[in-house]
């Protein structure tokens, strides 16, 4: 038990993430994002998100690891729409992690906020604590109308009733890239070798993903953009997603 507490303390130590090799980070340029939602379907396809049906949507029980939020500004005719893709921010000081009574959600060595489905007992506390509302609960075991199940991605487990789920930054793709790098003379994962499904699909190239600990990576450069900010930063959650606000010509 004491080693566990020690470990926990070291997890909470400021600068802890500097001790690790990778820190997966994403930047999303809202000046490029058009709200087309290609990322939403790409995520659904990659991560075996269920088709929940009309009734469940009506009960707000949909599951979308990434969604586009829409915000109106002004009134007709001077009205503007702002889109913002919202997904798990992979916070470094994640409120959800401290809340889980069974440590089903924890921070892994890559700075990822990870969900262990087998451990989750479905208290849904984490979803309440998350200020971004990006955690989704399986109220039911969803099934696929035959033969839609043939599409399911074998690299990602299908969740069942009673567990919480959320964006993983496509951890299966990170795993594959790391394995390949290891097999290739134990080299490090190169910039651009890991591309989550949403980033891959984005037709305006609004999203950039990479290791922010590598100063040469594209994402590191994007993070330095003066338009960069973090959503609800005042809550001190230290998100791993940097948004670039809309610009003006």
């Amino acid at each position: 038990m004491s080693t566990f507490v020690e470990k926990l303390r070291s997890y909470r130590k400021p600068g802890y993430y500097d001790e690790f090799d990778y820190h997966w980070t994403m930047t999303i340029d809202l000046d490029r994002c058009t709200g087309c939602e290609a990322c939403v379907v790409a995520c659904q396809a990659e991560n075996n998100l269920p088709i929940v049906g009309e009734e469940r949507f009506a009960q707000s029980r949909e599951i979308k690891w990434i969604r586009i939020e829409r915000y109106w500004e002004g009134e007709y005719p001077n009205v503007k729409m702002g889109f913002i893709p919202m997904l798990c921010q992979q916070c470094d000081d994640a409120p959800c992690e401290t809340a889980c009574p069974v440590y089903a959600t924890y921070h892994n060595q890559d700075g990822l906020n990870t969900q262990i489905y087998n451990r989750c007992i479905g208290t849904r506390t984490c979803a309440v604590y998350c200020p971004y509302e990006v955690r989704y609960f399986n109220w039911f075991t969803y099934t696929w109308d035959e033969p839609l199940e043939q599409q399911l991605n074998p690299d990602v487990s299908v969740r069942e009733k009673g567990v919480m789920e959320k964006c993983t930054f496509c951890i299966q793709r990170i795993r594959i890239a790391k394995d390949n790098a290891k097999d290739d003379d134990e080299r490090r994962v190169r910039d651009g070798e890991v591309v989550p499904a949403c980033v891959q699909s984005c037709p305006t190239e609004a999203m950039v993903f990479g290791n922010s600990k590598d100063p040469g990576s594209k994402v590191s450069k994007m993070m330095k953009n003066p338009r960069g900010y973090k959503v609800l930063e005042e809550l001190n959650t230290s998100p791993s997603i940097v948004y670039l606000t809309k610009a003006h010509s």
Binding site: C36, E37, A38, A45, E62, P147
Partner: protein, 749 residues
């Protein structure tokens, strides 16, 4: 113990794992069926368990012709991504493209040939064999050919390009019927007609959004639904931040904010139907400000004299100042570009409006240069003439012919005119006069349901084909479609059905159409193209070329001029300048609101509605799922006492739909907008019986010059029915309320 050598044991392990070995070791007493972990002892070359392979092919969710890569594991398609080497998609996809897997694995697919087993349209079908089905059609067509009555055979398809188009044309030609026509609601027919007038060519030009610095769009939802959304989105990203220190500006003119309007720097809700007039007002300002210095300056001045900003302002309800400002920016930008589409190109003045927008490009000198309008040549790859959709007039002619009893056999492939035409065209009723309707389709839909015989087709992910993207990308490009998985059911590709029918009919058909399969045909034609080009110095064996093309999914010659870059003269555009005001069906007093039907980024013209991922994809502008709605300006709704979810009866002079109301902040107060896509009656379980189809109440008005359907020229009245319906939305609060969501706090001021 049974006598088993180590070598045998290893073989058994290799074949079936522990289960198999166990069965052998325990002898005859264990007679269980052994379930093999790996279904094949010697799997095919491209099948390695646990390892994904990617196959390149062409997306068919719209007509853009994006190259896609499909991830295959254990013979099943898992994921669609853009083909990174394809010049149209460049590795990217849209939501519809991603959802292509839902089409392949759709539970409602037609799995065997079917024949009608009840009254036509009742939806009761019984299975028949391919042999019987092809014999039935083949003998009927053969008889008509012998009787010299083949012109009584009609073939109606959706947008088809490449060799399948050639095959259709050849088949109908050899049969002796010149009635092969295409119909696609989304096809930019008015744009083509206008470009024919302005530029003398009806080949779609390449609108170079990527290198533009100022894009002025009249109703064209180029990021969501217009012509090639993925390619335009890539270009848009580049326009915004592709070049250091430069951010292009976009302006969108439309009565209801589209996806593109939402991303535009300025959204201008001009009065519906006056978009072309607004373009002429801007043109007038450009010329009178001396921004145009061409030799035909006086001709322009004369042609545009009647369109002073002051006059245009009154009719378009866009202020003088705004018109002058747009003219200034358009004229002063390094690379400006004006485009027209959507509702602006769907009034009774469609062609005149687009010509007016073309005039802007002429005056600003945007033709044939980067960031402007770049012309494509007729055929960059294939020597075969490509068919163009006959458009609305073609469908009206077909309807008339059916009503007159002039059509004995109607073959329909991948088109759903019963859904995508106004009800008062009476297409469905006319179908009753056709003795034999044969549908080539993968899914049951409203048109397929009317068929006597359904020949189930492979989806595009199971078919051979090829494609030349339209519009082209400035250099010769052709893509290959290949099956990425084996057909799931007892289905055939449309090309193979045509070839089989040719054999059934006999005579010269199977001699001229000698290919056994569509694959053979494609290969044969590509070999011809290859041989033609080989003399130009490409020293390569065809087989190597073919394999390389298959692997890449695309063949192209970047850098090679497609030969269409001459800048057309302005005279025909000047001559065609006319007062482009749309005439609406329905008087303003009886029908106070303009109906604005719009294509959605999720369903397009309704073809995506049977895909569950798209039904569950929140509408990009409203976040509504599973249903349709009518958008009203909050002021209009308040005035009429209408609240969200109140079911409205929307009546045009030709029909009525019932649909719940939804207030929408970015729509003109005199407009009611409805998304196209829902309201299907027989399109499988996901499209279900949900929502309403606005196309059905559109009056059958046509553009006076091109004969195209003027689907944005109908007025309607709305009435509350007293019923309420829950509109299912995923959005909660749609204002940031000062929170740090869209920008850092200090930006909010």
């Amino acid at each position: 113990m049974s006598k088993i050598s180590r070598r045998d044991l290893l073989q058994y392990i290799g074949a079936g794992g522990v289960g198999a070995v166990g069965g052998v070791l325990y002898g005859e007493s264990v007679q269980r069926n052994v379930e093999l972990l790996i279904p094949q002892v010697v799997p095919p070359d491209d099948y390695s368990p646990g390892v994904a392979s990617w196959y390149n092919t062409v997306c068919n969710q719209c007509s853009a012709g994006c190259g896609i890569s499909v991830r295959i594991r254990e013979g099943k398609a898992k994921k669609i991504e853009g083909n990174p080497v394809h010049p149209v998609s460049q590795g990217r996809t849209c939501a519809r493209g991603q959802a292509g897997l839902n089409a392949l694995y759709n539970p409602d697919r037609i799995r065997t040939p079917l024949q009608n087993a009840g009254q036509r349209g009742s939806g009761s079908f019984e299975e028949i064999s391919w042999g019987d089905a092809l014999a039935t059609v083949g003998s009927r067509l053969g008889r008509l050919k012998i009787e010299n009555n083949a012109s009584r055979v009609r073939l109606l398809t959706g947008r088809v390009r490449g060799r399948l188009d050639e095959l259709f044309a050849q088949f109908m030609g050899l049969l002796g019927s010149d009635h092969y026509q295409q119909y696609d609601f989304t096809y930019p027919s008015a744009l083509m007609a206008a470009n024919k007038t302005s530029y003398g060519t009806d080949v779609l030009p390449y609108y170079d959004i990527k290198n533009a610095t100022f894009v002025l769009s009249f109703g064209a939802d180029y990021l969501g639904t217009w012509i090639s959304p993925v390619h335009h989105s890539l270009a848009y990203g580049h326009l915004r931040h592709g070049q250091e220190g430069r951010r292009g500006k976009t302006v969108q003119i439309e009565p209801r904010m589209s996806l593109t309007g939402a991303s535009a720097d300025e959204w201008i809700p001009a009065r519906p139907g006056t978009e072309g007039l607004l373009a002429l007002g801007i043109a007038h300002a450009l010329v009178s400000d001396g921004r145009y210095q061409g030799s035909d300056r006086d001709e322009w001045s004369t042609a545009l004299a009647a369109f002073s900003p002051a006059r245009v302002s009154a009719e378009t309800e866009v202020s003088d100042d705004k018109i002058s400002q747009l003219a200034r920016e358009f004229g002063a930008s390094a690379a400006s570009l004006a485009i027209a589409g959507g509702a602006a190109a769907a009034g009774t003045n469609a062609v005149a409006s687009v010509v007016a927008v073309n005039a802007l490009n002429h005056i600003a000198g945007n033709l044939g240069k980067p960031g402007g309008v770049i012309f494509n040549s007729e055929q960059a790859f294939s020597s075969a003439a490509a068919s163009r959709p006959a458009g609305h007039q073609g469908v009206l002619d077909l309807t008339e012919a059916m009503e007159a009893g002039d059509v004995e056999v109607l073959l329909v492939h991948d088109a759903n005119p019963v859904y995508a035409l106004p009800e008062n065209v009476r297409f469905q009723q006319a179908l009753q006069n056709v003795p034999l309707i044969v549908a080539l389709s993968s899914f049951p839909d409203e048109t397929t349901e009317m068929a006597d015989l359904i020949l189930p087709t492979n989806t595009y992910l199971e078919s051979w084909g090829d494609d030349v993207p339209d519009p082209g990308v400035g250099f010769p490009v052709a893509s290959i479609s290949q099956p990425v998985v084996a057909p799931l059911y007892d289905t055939l590709s449309a090309g193979d059905i045509v070839l089989s029918l040719a054999r059934q009919i006999g005579g010269e058909l199977p001699i001229r159409m000698r290919w056994g399969t569509m694959e053979e045909f494609i290969r044969d034609r590509w070999r011809e193209e290859y041989n033609k080009r080989e003399s130009a110095g490409e020293a390569q064996e065809f087989e190597a070329f073919w394999q390389a093309s298959l692997e890449a999914g695309v063949w192209g010659q970047p850098g090679a001029d497609s030969g269409g870059n001459s800048v057309p003269s302005t005279s025909s555009t000047i001559a065609s300048i006319a007062n482009p005001v749309s005439m609406f069906a329905g008087g303003e007093s009886d029908y106070p609101l303009v109906l604005h039907p719009y294509l959605t980024a999720t369903f397009l013209d309704g073809r995506g509605a049977n895909l569950p991922w798209l039904q569950e994809l929140p509408d990009p502008m409203t976040s509504v799922v599973y249903g349709s709605w009518a958008e009203l300006n909050p002021a209009t709704a308040a005035e009429m006492g209408i609240k969200d979810g109140d079911v409205l009866e929307i009546s045009s002079p030709t029909g009525t739909v019932r649909v719940p109301a939804l207030t929408f902040p970015a729509i003109r107060p005199d407009v009611v907008a409805m998304p196209i896509g829902q309201g299907h009656k027989g399109y499988g379980r996901y499209a279900g019986d949900r929502g309403a189809n606005p196309i059905h109440v559109v009056a059958n008005q046509i553009d006076t010059q091109s004969g195209e359907l003027a689907w944005a020229a109908t007025r309607v009245k709305i009435k509350r029915t007293g019923e309420k319906l829950q509109i299912i939305k995923t959005d909660g609060v749609t204002r940031t309320l000062g929170r740090q969501i869209l920008a850092p706090k200090n930006d909010h001021g």
